[in-house]
């Protein structure tokens, strides 16, 4: 009697609440569902149901992944907010800054003498990265927001053709972008190690807030920050981007979803940061653009913004080209 009771109890426990529970007793006298796997239990345990398939496509062994719904919510509901706040917020902040502070002028005017700030190779790698970044940013934004913003304007056929083109651009331009990031990292790393001058630069508001000109080397603390945002953000975007470009080679469905989220969010943060970078390099500061256009900057400009670097360069130029250098 005890044994029968225990067996009944075991059967009762073994039947999960999600399973269909008929009133009739099983005709065979045996209830196979009691001992079988149940969808509810599997989903509760792992939030995913995985098994074995007889086809080579291993990812098809995932029978169910309700987490797709979370990813969907991210893409449909959160992403517009993240992007809106980051991108539009930055644009608004820059606009306010421009109207309050105005263009940062070169005080004391130009000297008429110039000094080489960026070699042609440095300019090449900068613009390689910049243009491929721009293509990636625009085509990426189209994937994320085009359905809402562009599709209603041009209709589904034109939008689909445009998006197809944008996708191919995004996929191919990824490679020159990666090359640009690697080159910039190698060539500019030694100028971008944080040091004591950066502390002082930040303390004085970098001359952006206020009118001071704190001393700085080839790159000031602000530019160093941009360098690290580009290198680290670029690396994160590239790694996750290649995971998306070669789907399921390295990771599973959860990994793909995560890579996609990281890719999108880091890309948006990078776009926000680059808006600031573009602003200060063009509209925000007089003569700053020369450095990346011709490579030559006015000596007065260089003295004002990169005093330590100018001293270094002039000292090097004063030195005889080779061999016995006089003591400095």
């Amino acid at each position: 009697m005890r044994i029968v009771l225990l067996a009944v109890l075991a059967l009762w426990i073994g039947t999960s609440p999600g399973q269909a529970q008929p009133q009739n007793a099983p005709v065979s006298g045996f209830n196979p569902t009691a001992s079988s796997v149940s969808e509810d239990q599997l989903l509760q345990a792992l939030d995913r149901v995985t098994g074995r398939v007889s086809i080579p496509d291993k990812k098809s062994a995932t029978l169910e992944q309700p987490a797709g719904r979370i990813w969907r919510d991210y893409h449909r509901s959160w992403l517009p907010w993240i992007g809106g706040v980051l991108v539009l917020g930055t644009l608004a902040a820059l606009a306010v800054f421009y109207f309050v502070r105005g263009r940062i002028r070169l005080e004391g005017g130009r000297s008429g003498r110039t000094i080489l700030r960026f070699t042609s190779f440095e300019r090449f790698m900068h613009w390689l990265t910049a243009f491929s970044w721009l293509v990636l940013a625009l085509s990426g934004l189209n994937v994320a927001y085009g359905r809402r913003l562009v599709l209603p304007l041009i209709g589904e056929d034109a939008f689909s053709r445009f998006s197809q083109l944008a996708k191919y651009s995004h996929n191919f331009v990824a490679f020159p972008f990666t090359l640009g990031i690697v080159l910039m990292f190698l060539v500019w790393l030694r100028h971008n190690i944080p040091d004591r001058t950066d502390v002082e630069w930040v303390r004085q508001g970098g001359g952006i807030i206020g009118h001071a000109h704190p001393p700085a080397g080839k790159f000031n603390a602000g530019q160093k920050a941009v360098f690290w945002i580009v290198v680290l953000g670029g690396a994160a975007v590239a790694v996750t981007g290649y995971l998306l470009l070669f789907p399921f080679y390295v990771t599973d469905i959860a990994g793909q979803q995560l890579a996609q989220v990281v890719h999108g969010v880091v890309a948006l943060m990078m776009i926000a940061a680059m808006l600031g970078h573009i602003y200060i390099g063009t509209l925000g500061m007089e003569d700053a653009f020369d450095a990346m256009a011709t490579g030559e900057v006015d000596l007065n400009w260089a003295r004002a913004h990169h005093s330590l670097w100018v001293e270094e360069e002039l000292a090097r130029a004063a030195r005889p080209p080779s061999g016995a250098a006089p003591a400095e």
Partner: protein, 199 residues
């Protein structure tokens, strides 16, 4: 109007893969594309179950929600279809799909995806006339327009896989469970339709 759904009675599925073969044959899907598959859970262990799975034609379908080019549409019968002319093969529907239904032919550069292919509930697609050669070439057969159900369910040797109007197949399943006295439930229904079949 009918609301077409699939229901796999896992207590009857014997992992014979006839549905997979029937689907491939009816729609002439290319090599490497599996619109339907059978997944065996706890394979070889006591209590193992096999479930035949394809697109579930979800209510408020996640694929349609995330598609960057809005290429999905739902027919009056509740079948979720898409336009291969609009699809750009970005792969987002696969990330959102709870059932791993979207398939991508491998074309072009890298691991990059061609236009998505998935179960159409044997209801063709937006191309040309119903049952035309153009429609068949892109989307496969359109049995629904001929008043027939999807080939997979029609060919199921144990009648585990049911296709048809939601009310009708739920009732068939309910009666089965009542009669034999057990049933492991309608797999995927909660996720796809936010409802189960109460017995």
């Amino acid at each position: 109007m009918a609301r077409m759904k699939f229901l796999c009675d896992a207590d009857r599925c014997i992992d014979c893969n006839a549905c997979v073969t029937a689907c491939k044959n009816a729609n002439e899907v290319p090599w490497g594309i599996n619109r339907r598959r059978v997944v065996t859970i706890n394979d070889g262990k006591p209590g193992e179950r096999s479930v035949s799975m394809a697109c579930m034609h979800c209510t408020d379908a996640p694929c349609a929600a995330v598609c960057p080019v809005d290429c999905f549409y739902t027919t009056a019968d509740g079948v979720v279809l898409h336009s291969k002319d609009l699809c750009i093969g970005c792969g987002y529907c696969f990330y959102a799909c709870p059932f791993g239904a979207p398939q991508y032919p491998r074309v072009g550069n890298f691991g990059s995806r061609g236009k998505m292919d998935k179960c159409t509930y044997c209801a063709g697609g937006p191309e040309g006339e119903d049952g035309s050669a153009a429609e068949f070439a892109k989307y496969g057969s359109n049995r629904l327009a001929e008043g027939k159900l999807p080939m997979c369910a029609e060919m199921c040797s144990t009648k585990s896989l049911l296709a048809g109007d939601s009310e009708v197949i739920a009732q068939i399943y309910r009666e089965r469970v009542q009669k034999r006295g057990y049933g492991s439930g309608a797999w995927g229904w909660k996720t796809a339709y936010r409802e189960t079949v109460d017995v």
